[in-house]
Symmetry: C2
Amino acid sequence: MRHKYRKGSSFERELKRLLEKEGFAVIRSAGSKGVDLIAGRKGEVLIFECKTSSKTKFYINKEDIEKLISFSEIFGGKPYLAIKFNGEMLFINPFLLSTNGKNYVIDERIKAIAIDFYEVIGRGKQLKIDDLI
Amino acid sequence: MRHKYRKGSSFERELKRLLEKEGFAVIRSAGSKGVDLIAGRKGEVLIFECKTSSKTKFYINKEDIEKLISFSEIFGGKPYLAIKFNGEMLFINPFLLSTNGKNYVIDERIKAIAIDFYEVIGRGKQLKIDDLI
């Protein structure tokens, strides 16, 4: 369990550094239920639940997502599920997730609704060189 | 040191519960430098550095206050130094603090510029019965 905990918090620290480089003030939560990071920049507020996995398929507890959504509605900020998946950082609007069970399934199909870091911070989709040619 | 740390975080938890009862969404910071709690309620953001002491006089590091102010300006929220002092909870606008040294001195005189919890959350000064008669 400790290894999994350490991997999660290193992703949080990485995302915190990225956000700070873009001019956000960021806090990492001491608790761990549903909200891991909150970032603000002159009134623009982004709220993140961070999940990381080296597997090609993993599950996220519905309760954590509900907590992320309700916290963001009370606070007044945009919620994102931030996942590190096969080394790639993806962001999902939690309102787009659906399940008929107790957990959400995260696999390759999530990419259809995921956006990247630059879209989250409002700098449009980061065009990769191969997108241009 | 561990006793002092535990006392600090119990004050943070107490303030977190009070804010949540008033309808705020609150995060306790995993770090400890300058910002301990951030609370939001539909876009209204309050940012706290919490200090507690059983002494009648204690010192607060200027650097912590500067971090609280700069974080709040970037994030876009109202900063407060929250102190628990002889059992009483007081809130100070950090911009009102002054010192010509490396630390701010907190003693009875701080009450002249301190406000109470209800003023912080915008419900006006909590009138005590003896204020009324």
